[in-house]
Structures are given as C-alpha cells and as structure tokens.
C-alpha cells in the first residue's frame, strides 16, 4: 500500500469516528426515549430498546408535569409558535427596511447608527435585561406576548439588518436608480423593485430567526410571563425542578420534541442555514 493511500484511509477513519462521536448524543436520546423506565435502570444507555414503547413520548407531550401544571409540553409548543411567528415577521420587516435604507439611501448619520447597532450586538444581555424589564413594565407589556415579541425583535435587529444590508449592497444599483428616475419614492421602490428580489435573503433570515427565537431560554424566562412560557423554559422545568423519581425516558422525549422544529428546519433547509451563517458572519 502506498503512503498516499494509507494517508487517505487514515483521513476517512478519522472523519468517520468524529462523525460517530457527534451523532452519539442524538442516538442515545432516541433510544432512551423509546425505553421503559425499568429497562433504563437495568440496561446500558447505548443498547437498543428491548421492548419498544411510545409511552414516554405520549407522557412528554400531554401528561407530564412542568412545574405547577401537568399537561405535558404541548402548551409550550404552541407558546413557542405564538412567540416565534410574530417575532420573525416583525424582525424581517425591520431588517429589510433598515437594510434597504442603509444600502440605497445613504442618509446622513445612518452609518454611525448602524455601527452603534452592531456594537450593541456585543453587549451582554445581562447589562440590558433589568432596564428592559422596567421599560416593558412602563409600557404595560411586561409578561405578555407583545412584550416578549418586542424584546426578540430588538435583540435580533443587528443580525437581521446586517443580513439585508449585505444582500442589498450586492444588488445592482442601476435598478434602484432607474426606479428613482421613473419617480418612484422610498416605499414604492422598496415594494416594487427591492422586495421582489429579496426572497432568497428572506428565507435565510427566517430560518435564522425562527431557530434563534425557538432556542431562546433567557428572554422567554424573564419577559414572556407565566401564561406564555416557551418550550425551552417548560422543558427545563420538567427536567430540573421535578421532585420525586426522574423519568429519564420522558426527559429525553421532551428534549427531542423541543428540538424538533429547529432540527427539521436544519435538515430540510441546511443549505440556507449555512448560507445565513456565511453571509451574516463573514461580511460583517
């Protein structure tokens, strides 16, 4: 065997074993969620389920206790949807408008504002959380759906603006100038020229924002209020504040249910996900 061939085999072996290590946690979660509690106590975490059961999934969805109530985490699922949808729609609307104004209109001072906004992205959330609690309380939206949506829109603005600004900056400026010569104003140019060319970046932004909002824990915990707690908060309550026997199979089923939306998004639209990271991060 030539040394070149040996190197190639070594390379494949390393990549394959690294891939296995990365997949192992997902595998363990899956097999644990299909086992009975007795089997978990007696068996090996890596073993396949001896008797395959969906009981843990049913319990996680509709009967397990998450803090005070015992209705599973389906309530958290709908809360997360109710938070994620408006947070995504508004975040994209503001991001697109900001990006458009920054890329084409060169308003005086706009770039200074943009720099300030991007600096804000690096400020640790803990610095802003308590003042924001006071601000949302003053607006009477603390602990409500509107409150948590507003907070998500605020904190996603740097990334959303950056995504759209970079995308629009790469569009041919002649299109924009032609619309201006034809007498189209700010909003008409946006609606008739810029927006029809935006679907690719809207898909990227939507995937990043839905994933980000769905996976948030801290903001949901502080701002959503008891009736709107997102799935991540309910999941953590389920796993870490339950007294009595730990139902490991239910814990794993609930974790998988919570991870389902971002995982499905990622496995069906992974290409866009990667593109979002690349356009958002690399050109910043």
């Amino acid at each position: 065997m030539s040394p070149r061939r040996a190197a190639r085999i070594g390379l494949y072996a390393f990549l394959a074993s690294a891939a296995l290590c990365f997949l192992l946690p997902l595998y363990v979660m899956l097999v644990t969620s299909f086992k009975s509690l007795d089997e978990i106590r007696l068996g090996n975490i890596f073993a396949l389920p001896g008797t395959f059961t969906l009981d843990a999934w049913r319990a996680a969805w509709s009967t397990v206790c998450t803090g005070v109530s015992c209705e599973g985490i389906r309530g958290g699922f709908s809360n997360s949807l109710l938070i994620a949808i408006p947070s995504t729609v508004f975040a994209i609307a503001f991001g697109a408008l900001n990006g458009y104004a920054l890329a084409f209109w060169r308003a005086r001072g706009a770039n200074v504002l943009f720099a300030l906004l991007m600096m804000g992205a690096f400020v640790p959330l803990q610095v802003m959380i308590y003042p924001l609690v006071r601000v949302t309380a003053m607006l009477h939206i603390f602990g409500t759906l509107s409150g948590i949506v507003l907070v998500h829109v605020i904190f996603s603005m740097p990334l959303m603006t950056l995504l759209f600004r970079n995308y629009y900056a790469a569009l041919p400026v002649e299109l924009f100038n032609a619309a201006r010569v034809d007498g189209a104003g700010f909003l008409r140019t946006f609606a008739h020229v810029v927006l029809p060319m935006s679907p690719p970046i809207i898909v990227v932004a939507a995937i990043m924002q839905v994933t980000g909002v769905w996976n948030d824990y801290l903001l949901g915990l502080v701002f959503a209020g008891r009736d709107n707690l997102p799935m991540t908060v309910q999941l953590n309550n389920l796993v870490n504040t339950t007294t009595g026997t730990r139902l490991y199979n239910v814990d794993m089923a609930a974790t998988l249910l919570t991870a389902l939306v971002p995982l499905v998004l990622y496995f069906t639209a992974g290409r866009w996900f990667v593109r979002g990271i690349a356009t958002g991060a690399l050109k910043g």
Binding site: V127, T258, A259
Partner: protein, 292 residues
C-alpha cells in the same frame, strides 16, 4: 422633492435609531448608573461610589464564576478553533460526502443550549451514563464522574458547548477555504510540499479573517454562558459551576440586589470590550490586506 423622498428614509430608520440609542446605549448607561448606587429591589439615587464593585470582588461566588468563565472560555474557543479547522481541512481535502459530513458536524448548532445541557447531563451522570456503560462492558474501574466532581464539573460544561458550537467554526472556515486560490495547490505540489504542511503553514494564515470571525462569534456566545449551566448542573455541585451571567440573573431576580447585579454586568461588558477590541482590529486589518 429629493429631500422629501429622503425624509422617508429617515422615518424608516427611526426604529433602528431608537433600538441603537435608547435600548442598547441607554440601558447600558442606566445599568452603569445603578451599579454606583445602593439599590436593592428598586433603583435609588443613593450613590455609594465603587462600593458594589468592591463587594463583588470579595464575594467568593463571583470569583468562582469568573474563574469558571475563564476556564470554559479558553477551552471552548481553543478546542473549537483547532477541531473546527481540522474538520474543515479534512472535509476540504476529500471532495466526497461534503454535504453529509457538514450536516453531521453542524446539527448540534441547531439545538438550544437547554437541550444541549440536558442531553449531556444524561450522558455524563455516573449512575446510568457513559461511566456505567463502560463498567458493564468489563472496565470495572472506569471512572468518568466529572459532572459531580466540584473540581472538574466546568470541564463537562465545556465538552457540551464544544459539541454544540464546533460545527459553526467548521462551516465558517470551510467557506474561507473555498475562497483560496487553487493555484496555491498546484505550486505546492510542484515543490513537493505535503498537503498537511500546506494547510498548516500556508492556508491557515490566509484564513486569518475567517478565524477572527469565528473567534468573535464564539467569544460573544461564551460570555452569555447561562442556559447550559442552568440545564446541566444548576451551578452545582454546590457553587462549583457558577458563572457570571447566572450570578447576575440570581441577584437581579432571586436575591433582589440590582446594584450588585448591575456592577457584575458592567464588569462583564468591560471584559468583552477588552477581549473583542484587538480581534476586531486585527480582522479589519486582515480585510484591508486582502483587499490590496
């Protein structure tokens, strides 16, 4: 006419102006102000100078939190950059299966930190997890109980975070590798330089901009460390895996000491600034070099 049209642009930028100036800048100033006061549950105007900061740095829990963040941050950033580069280079070197491999290494990044913490809590718990599985296989003395060991628990949090974010570094570096001139490979082959040498000595320095980007993203995530700890160890055993963000949250909402919490958050902000400034500067510099 033109001015009138431009006025609309200013109106459209108003939400951004409010977010940047009032929310980001304003709330930071507000927290700075509170950190100099003696506020407990509600902000007061009784200013005590740097007393809260002095208290912070005599509090063992805060000092443990800072030490933990330093260990965690160094490990996560260094291991993610090394492993991410290794994976990106290996995937780049063998053209096949790129899509599948990328999916496998990046999927953890789609998971929440809460889910990540819970998964690893289950894998690492000594009674049912990896330790027990290895013992059943016949390694009776196998020991891997770091998650309940106060001296080692922070390493387990780092392992979980590395698993979660390593793929991000890989993707960023892979995108950077795609931008490198293929002629470099031809030249290296003519000179008989081995491939690994090209990656380490020639390609790696050319990826400075991508490395800086990855470091910035990792660093901002490191400082936020809260969810994984809450889900995985709740700061325990004892206070062994406490972190600054959790210290601040506990003092804001559990212990009603907003002045001390604000002082902690300002310390965190200053730390971020000191660490980020040189990286941002280098990144700009490398971009300017590349543009030349």
């Amino acid at each position: 006419m033109v001015n009138f049209r431009r006025a609309r642009a200013y109106v459209a930028l108003l939400p951004m102006a409010i977010t940047a100036c009032v929310i980001y800048f304003g709330t930071t100033l507000w927290s700075l102000r509170v950190s100099f006061s003696s506020s407990r549950t509600f902000p007061t105007d009784n200013f005590v100078g740097l007393a809260q900061y002095a208290r912070l740095f005599t509090d063992d829990r805060w000092l443990v939190s800072l030490a933990n963040l330093a260990i965690y941050g160094t490990l996560v950033i260094v291991v993610c950059l090394v492993l991410g580069f290794l994976l990106a280079a290996l995937i780049d070197a063998q053209a096949r299966n790129e899509g599948a491999l990328r999916s496998v290494f990046l999927y953890p990044y789609a998971l929440s930190f809460v889910a990540t913490g819970i998964i690893w809590q289950w894998l690492l718990n000594p009674t049912n997890g990896i330790q027990e599985a290895a013992r059943r296989l016949g390694f009776a003395d196998f020991q891997f109980d770091w998650i309940v060991d106060p001296d080692k628990v922070i390493y387990t949090v780092a392992i979980a975070a590395i698993w979660q974010s390593c793929g991000l570094v890989m993707v960023i570096l892979l995108a950077g590798l795609r931008g490198i001139d293929p002629d470099i490979w031809k030249a290296a082959r003519l000179d008989g330089i081995p491939a690994w040498r090209v990656y380490v000595s020639i390609v790696r320095p050319m990826l400075a901009h991508s490395f800086a980007t990855a470091t910035i993203l990792l660093l901002t995530a490191v400082v936020k460390l809260y969810d994984i700890v809450v889900a995985m160890t709740q700061g325990g055993p004892g206070t062994a895996s406490e972190v600054p963000a959790k210290y601040i949250m506990d003092h804001l909402f559990g212990r009603a000491n907003i002045a001390l919490a604000s002082a902690g958050s300002i310390v965190l902000l200053i730390t971020v600034g000191i660490l980020l400034a040189p990286i941002l500067y280098l990144r700009r510099y490398s971009a300017r070099l590349a543009a030349r």
